[in-house]
């Protein structure tokens, strides 16, 4: 009976959501924001990738917020996650899993540098080609994930992770604050450097710098999160 009520309520909710979304004309050219962004990204900011211009400049404040959300997730992770010890062996399930095969280990070692370079390439060229700090950072973290799953004794040094994520975060906020001092409109996160020429690596002013900082930060945080997940420390109070 209770399930029936829940299902019918969900159906009603689903119907209204469907109705609302069916009524909205997605993809319709509203000529409001999108055209403005498409026009201003190459002309004023000299950024070839309009998505990057939106993410880092027009709505850079949101990006700062999202980076903070990731930082919080990494910080808060350890406080919320607790792992129970196995009743039979008294060990963490993960510790009893077998070592990865030699093939995986060798391939992991081989691929790791290539993954690092790809990740760095993606976030350094965020203002020119598809991709950017978040994507590049995620790629780098997958490299570490590969090492974490192929070598059981592989440990990420939390000291370095902390340094990188702190310095990258500080760079982002500092660039923002410098915008207040040096920018033409004295506003936060504003571009204050020479924007250069379209399609060149040095174009886009601070946008490229911010995305590099984001790349480092995302890479460090995701790696930290992965490491926390693999080695959840046992704290007291577990019965």
């Amino acid at each position: 009976m209770r399930k029936l009520v829940i299902i019918s309520l969900l159906l009603v909710l689903g119907y209204y959501l469907l109705d609302t979304f069916a009524g909205a004309e997605f993809g319709k050219d509203r000529k409001v924001l999108s055209n403005y962004y498409l026009e201003k990204s190459p002309s004023e900011l000299q950024v070839a990738n309009a998505v990057t211009a939106i993410v880092v400049n027009f709505r850079g404040f949101d990006t700062l917020g999202e980076v903070t959300v990731l930082f919080l997730a990494a910080t808060g992770m350890g406080t919320i996650l607790l792992r129970r010890r196995s009743k039979h062996t008294g060990l963490n399930p993960q510790r009893t899993s077998p070592e990865a095969s030699k093939i995986v280990q060798a391939a992991g070692k081989l691929l790791f540098p290539a993954i690092m370079i790809l990740g760095a390439y993606v976030f350094i060229h965020g203002h020119l080609t598809p991709g950017g700090g978040f994507q590049g950072g995620a790629i780098i973290a997958t490299g570490f994930l590969l090492l974490l799953i192929s070598y059981r004794q592989f440990k990420v040094e939390h000291k370095y992770v902390t340094w990188i994520e702190s310095l990258a975060g500080l760079t982002f906020v500092s660039i923002g604050l410098l915008g207040i001092v040096l920018g033409p409109h004295n506003s936060f996160l504003e571009n204050f450097l020479n924007v250069g020429t379209l399609n060149e690596l040095t174009s886009g002013g601070v946008i490229a710098l911010v995305y590099i900082a984001v790349g480092f930060k995302v890479a460090a945080e995701l790696t930290g999160i992965l490491d926390t997940l693999v080695n959840i420390r046992e704290t007291g109070d577990i019965d």
């Binding site: 209204y16 959501l17 109705d19 609302t20 979304f21 009524g23 909205a24 004309e25 997605f26 509203r30 409001v32 924001l33 403005y36 962004y37 201003k40 400049n57 027009f58 709505r59 850079g60 404040f61 949101d62 700062l64 917020g65 999202e66 903070t68 959300v69 930082f71 919080l72 997730a73 910080t75 808060g76 406080t79 919320i80 607790l82 902390t162 340094w163 994520e165 702190s166 310095l167 975060g169 500080l170 906020v173 500092s174 923002g176 604050l177 915008g179 207040i180 920018g183 033409p184 409109h185 506003s187 936060f188 996160l189 504003e190 571009n191 704290t235 007291g236 109070d237 577990i238």
Partner: protein, 500 residues
């Protein structure tokens, strides 16, 4: 001094990223620097509040793009008032907690990072003029709140945090869906432009997205029946954090709810305010009735806090200027008084794991100052003169009487009696029972005494001289009620185009 609303967000974020490095330099810096930053923000609030007026909001562009192209921060008499309240309260909570015993160095680092981000996120929700940006700040606020709930490692804390996380994630999804619908129909995320374009949105889409916002923000604002997370979170989080949930987190939630219902949807003619009123009534009655049955002091305060949030919703649900005024006054009082109660109660139940009210016998003699301050807070929150709580409750009663809502008025009075019963039950135990001789008590540290006495002084000062604050409240109420003015100040070009 440099007073720019962007610093409310930029400085705490900067500090949060800096604290892990400071820890390597000299450990006490982890406690000191956040305090200095919060002190700066509190002083900046006073400076900005003097610059702002009903006709001259401080609008801050970000990345050099004007609204609606870029994100902006809007510091008006209304949003500025709440932001100032939050920042000043955050400073007091820092002062209270910087020597808190259970916070050791490693944990202190995490504690202050999360607390700074909780504050920055809440102020961001209040100041932003962009609806998606608001979502981002709601995320920052809730994530730090989850982590702080589980701060004392243990099963109960983890359970409370996980519950909070589940409900909070649900709220985030609802909020994002609501924003998506608005964006799909209007093509903008700027709140002022959304408010301007709202008449073009078909009614059914308006209702669906309003309900999504209402549920999502109702969770943050502790509305019944969406507040299941609150009692656990309040009772498991560290004492000062429980105070900041009441004074900071819930304030940001209710602010967002009000901003969305008043400015963006403006459902005054379509029954939106009645919904707020009815939900407020239900929240108040249910929470206060449940509060009466609580045996755990923290949980009792948590339910009382939800009851107060119900009262605030009722005030804003009236839809009149007097209602807004009363609602803001209650928000102010609730932030100050409930913080004092939570801060004092943290010492009252310091050594008891179950935090039971029945363990408080005779504490009036054992901890005279803390008990006195708790008693003062209890008198103020139920609305007895000469404390500040009296004036806010009186203004709400007058506002309901002006609207000829006798039923609402009678309910508020009846619920006040319930409030008196359960608060006085605690006071009776504190003062009229014999103390258990074996009980251990924790004497408050000097910094927490200073904090609690400062809050008590505010309560008494506003109680004796309500004009200290009524001017600010009137300005704030007028600003919120003036929706056209809000749109015109933020997007003057687009606004004048539609008039022609």
């Amino acid at each position: 001094m440099v007073a720019n609303p962007i610093l409310y967000i930029a400085l705490p974020l900067f500090t949060a990223f800096l604290v892990p490095l400071l820890a390597k330099l000299w450990k006490p810096l982890v406690r000191i620097i956040p305090g200095l930053v919060l002190a700066y923000l509190a002083v900046m609030s006073v400076v900005l509040m003097q610059q702002v007026g009903p006709d001259k909001p401080i609008i801050t562009m970000i990345a050099g793009w004007k609204a609606p192209w870029g994100i902006n921060l809007v510091f008006t008499s209304f949003s500025g008032f709440i932001a100032s309240l939050i920042s000043i309260l955050a400073f007091f909570i820092w002062l209270y907690s910087f020597k808190f015993k259970k916070v050791e160095f490693d944990d202190a680092q995490k504690y202050f990072i999360l607390f700074m981000l909780l504050t920055a996120g809440s102020i961001g929700v209040v100041l932003t003029g962009d609806i998606f940006n608001m979502f981002v700040f709601v995320e920052i606020t809730s994530l730090s709140a989850y982590a702080l709930t589980a701060f004392y490692k243990g099963r109960d804390g983890a359970e409370a945090a996980f519950k909070f996380l589940l409900i909070g994630s649900f709220s985030s999804i609802m909020l994002l869906l609501g924003i998506t619908i608005l964006y799909a129909y209007t093509g903008t995320l700027n709140m002022a432009q959304l408010a301007m374009l709202m008449p073009q949105v078909p009614m059914h889409a308006k209702i669906v997205s309003f309900l999504l916002f209402f549920v999502a923000l109702g969770i943050e604002a502790e509305m019944f029946p969406l507040n299941g997370w609150a009692p656990d979170a309040y009772s498991q989080a560290p004492g000062p954090i429980a105070a900041s949930f009441a004074g900071i987190l819930a304030k940001a939630g209710i602010y967002a709810l009000i901003r969305v219902s008043y400015t963006i949807f403006d459902l005054g003619n379509d029954g939106g305010f009645e919904l707020l009123l009815v939900m407020g009534l239900i929240t108040m009655v249910v929470s206060e009735l449940v509060a009466m049955r609580q045996e755990n002091l923290r949980r009792m305060l948590a339910y009382s806090s939800m009851g107060q949030m119900g009262l605030i919703m009722i005030a804003f649900g009236l839809g009149t200027k007097e209602g807004i005024y009363a609602g803001l006054f209650i928000m102010f009082n609730h932030a100050v008084i409930k913080s004092l109660l939570f801060l004092a109660s943290a010492y009252l139940v310091y050594y008891t794991s179950r935090k039971k009210i029945s363990d408080l016998d005779g504490f009036g003699k054992l901890l005279p100052l803390t008990s006195l301050l708790f008693g003062l807070g209890a008198f103020a929150i139920v609305g007895l003169p000469p404390f500040s709580g009296f004036w806010s409750k009186l203004s709400l009663l007058i506002a309901t009487a002006d609207n000829h809502m006798e039923f609402v008025l009678a309910t508020i009075l009846a619920v006040s009696v319930i409030e008196i019963i359960y608060y006085f039950r605690v006071l009776g135990r504190l003062y009229f029972r014999k103390a258990n001789t074996e009980i251990k008590v924790r004497k408050p540290t000097w910094n927490s005494v200073v904090t609690m006495i400062s809050l008590a002084i505010v309560i008494i000062a506003v109680g004796l001289h309500p004009d200290l604050i009524t001017g600010l409240l009137h300005n704030a109420a007028n600003t919120l009620a003036d929706k056209a003015g809000y749109i015109q100040k933020i997007i003057p070009d687009l606004f004048s185009q539609t008039l022609n």
